[in-house]
């Protein structure tokens, strides 16, 4: 990665290769709005060309982080560097960041082509060159035949594709995606997800993506940061995040998680379902002994045993696995994933034995 590749004056797509990415470092960012601490010493480093997603519930500060990077908000403390340079003093209009917004942000008074060409016009690029490049980008998102249409004549998905082309037209150093898919219906969302990812990889552009949808984050990003209350809980590869969540919050926010009552034995072991298993990750505060054990549906063992510790209440087919809901006692139910080929014995009403196979588990304060 060198600085000059980012602003190479060749066309974006001529050779199909990216123009390289720049490293982005946000360090110790804090921001309060009145009494609300939106960001609390957030640090995220994004490698050149990397696609990082910030994932979290609404109000966790992910959008504030993105808006600070874009230059729409300022941090109370902390710094943002792009390609090694502190950009605190650079206004949004001069930051060279392409942004796709959650709501439809196309200029209603301009055609799709003029929308895409807007950033080039602001950079004083001549009319014919501008139209040619805007045309290329519309082609890239598959909307060449809609170039003359106005935003209200385009579907939601098409509008967001134009918005993506518009953000990329300025050959930005960084691409910012602020929940760009959340206003779209499920099918379009899926297509656009793949399209954004493939364009991002082709251009090799450093990208920050903000979303509350874990599936989107896990499927699109190279690394996913999970945020809570203005802090980064964990940032890791999607599979790591799922398999080795660092905190109970991450564990329950990403994927499905069962909670089982358990009792700590010492600090490193916990007893649940009459089995003692090792504990990993954080311990609940205050040295509590009574805890909840967190286990994924595929982390529980299920056997058809007459007089077992649970009764099957539901079974749903998810393809290669079936998800079986088992009532253990009273209002305590767990979900267990089991290969569909031999889930025949787990019909609702059957008695089963649920157990822990012995792998390390996370524990959390009892709810």
């Amino acid at each position: 990665m060198t600085a000059n590749t980012a602003k190479a004056d060749t066309t974006l797509l001529a050779d199909g290769a990216g123009h390289g990415g720049v490293p982005v470092v946000m360090s110790d960012l804090s921001r309060t709005f009145g009494a609300v601490q939106a960001l609390n010493q957030l640090t995220v480093e994004i490698a050149p060309g990397e696609f990082v997603a910030l994932l979290g519930p609404s109000g966790c500060g992910k959008t504030t982080a993105l808006r600070i990077l874009a230059g729409f908000e300022t941090a109370d403390s902390g710094s943002v560097t792009v390609n090694g340079k502190d950009i605190a003093a650079v206004p949004a209009a001069k930051r060279d960041m392409g942004m796709v917004f959650q709501s439809y942000s196309l200029f209603p008074n301009m055609s799709a082509l003029d929308n895409v060409a807007f950033g080039l016009r602001m950079r004083r690029i001549g009319g014919s060159e501008r139209r040619r490049r805007a045309g290329e980008l519309l082609d890239m998102v598959g909307l060449t035949e809609h170039a003359r249409r106005y935003p209200h004549q385009l579907s939601g998905g098409q509008q967001q594709r134009v918005a993506l082309a518009r953000a990329l037209a300025i050959e930005p150093q960084v691409l910012l995606l602020d929940e760009p898919l959340s206003a779209l219906d499920a099918k379009v969302r899926l297509q656009l997800r793949e399209q954004i990812r493939s364009v991002q990889q082709r251009l090799g552009i450093t990208t920050l993506f903000v979303t509350h949808d874990q599936e989107e984050a896990l499927s699109m990003a190279d690394r996913v940061g999970v945020m809570k209350d203005g802090k980064l809980e964990q940032i890791a590869l999607p599979d790591q995040l799922y398999a080795e969540p660092a905190t109970a919050f991450v564990a329950e926010f990403v994927g499905t998680m069962n909670r089982l009552p358990g009792a700590l034995e010492g600090t490193d072991r916990v007893r649940a379902l009459d089995t003692v298993v090792p504990v990993h990750g954080e311990r609940p505060p205050g040295g509590l002994r009574e805890v909840d054990v967190l286990v994924r549906p595929e982390g529980l063992r299920i056997e058809a045993v007459p007089g077992g510790n649970g009764i099957v209440t539901d079974r749903s087919f998810l393809g290669s696995v079936s998800r079986i809901t088992v009532r253990l006692s009273g209002d305590l139910s767990v979900k267990v994933d089991h290969p569909s080929v031999d889930s025949g014995g787990f019909a609702p009403g059957e008695s089963v034995q649920i157990s822990l196979p012995g792998a390390p588990v996370l524990v959390a304060e009892r709810e």
Partner: protein, 285 residues
């Protein structure tokens, strides 16, 4: 978050359109009866006035002493007032929407004041405190008319801005490298066109019809001239009134046509006589 605001902004419009449509379907007979009654209410006085004047009086209007001076003064005042009003109110409204949305209710109550205060009080107060240099020119009237037009301009622009997702558009424009002048000129104003037209129509109509203040300031604007002339020749004066009415109509129609041609192209925010009058009555109530 932005999507939520957008949905909230667009929802009332959608609902009311739906409701109107439903009402029309369910009460077609009533609709026609009301239309006919209202139509008669407007047409009968016009017809009576026309009977009174006859065609000849129309021909005489243009050659009357002071006619052209009065109409030129009124048009001048209309242009100055409109320009001043827009230059003052457009940036103010945009700024309040973007940066100080919390003070919108306050601004709404401030802008309603010129309607609440009787024109007589307003003009006597202004004449009392205004410097002599201004008192000698008719342009003092333009300044007072700006105050009078403020409620209409503010409400119209406010409605126009509310129908846009202004914050997102401005952010998008900024992120693409546009500074404030470009954002205002290329992004905000073109999308406010309908509201700007409505504000213009209302301001111009207000200036062309204002009598009290102009009369107390002792300048012969068109309405003042009509009243003064009334004392010498009844039919010609009524013909002048009708003429003024038709000019205003033609003016409104022209703006409506420009507005709806644009609206067809963009598919949003249509201007027509109904929306203009609805806004007008809605604001004054």
């Amino acid at each position: 978050m932005a999507a939520v605001t957008q949905a909230r902004a667009s929802q009332p419009a959608g609902t009311s359109a739906g409701q109107v449509r439903a009402r029309r379907r369910s009460y077609p007979v009533w609709r026609w009866i009301i239309l006919v009654i209202a139509g008669l209410y407007f047409v009968i006085p016009l017809y009576a006035a026309f009977q009174f004047t006859g065609w000849n009086a129309f021909g005489q209007v243009f050659s009357q002493v002071g006619f052209s001076d009065a109409i030129i003064l009124s048009i001048k005042l209309a242009v100055i007032t409109t320009v001043l009003t827009l230059v003052l109110m457009v940036p103010t409204t945009i700024y309040v929407h973007l940066r100080l949305p919390a003070i919108r209710p306050l601004l709404e109550s401030i802008t309603i004041l010129p309607i609440v205060i009787p024109p007589v009080v307003l003009i006597l107060g202004v004449l009392d405190i205004s410097p002599a240099s201004l008192k000698g020119t008719p342009y003092l009237l333009a300044l007072v008319y700006v105050v009078l037009a403020m409620p209409f301009a503010y409400r119209t622009l406010d409605a126009g801005l509310r129908s846009l997702d202004l914050k997102t558009l401005v952010d998008a424009s900024n992120s693409l490298g546009a500074g404030w002048p470009s954002t205002l000129w290329r992004v905000i104003l073109p999308n406010l066109r309908t509201a700007l037209l409505s504000a213009t129509v209302l301001t111009v109509a207000l200036v062309l019809g204002e009598f009290t203040m102009a009369s107390l300031d002792q300048y012969q604007t068109f309405p003042v001239w009509i009243v003064n002339f009334d004392q010498t020749s009844g039919p010609v004066s009524v013909a002048a009134s009708l003429f003024a009415l038709f000019v205003t109509w033609i003016f409104l129609l022209a703006i409506t046509m420009i507005g709806s041609r644009r609206a067809r192209r963009l598919g949003g925010g249509q201007v027509d006589l109904v929306t203009v009058t609805r806004q007008e009555t809605g604001e004054t109530r």
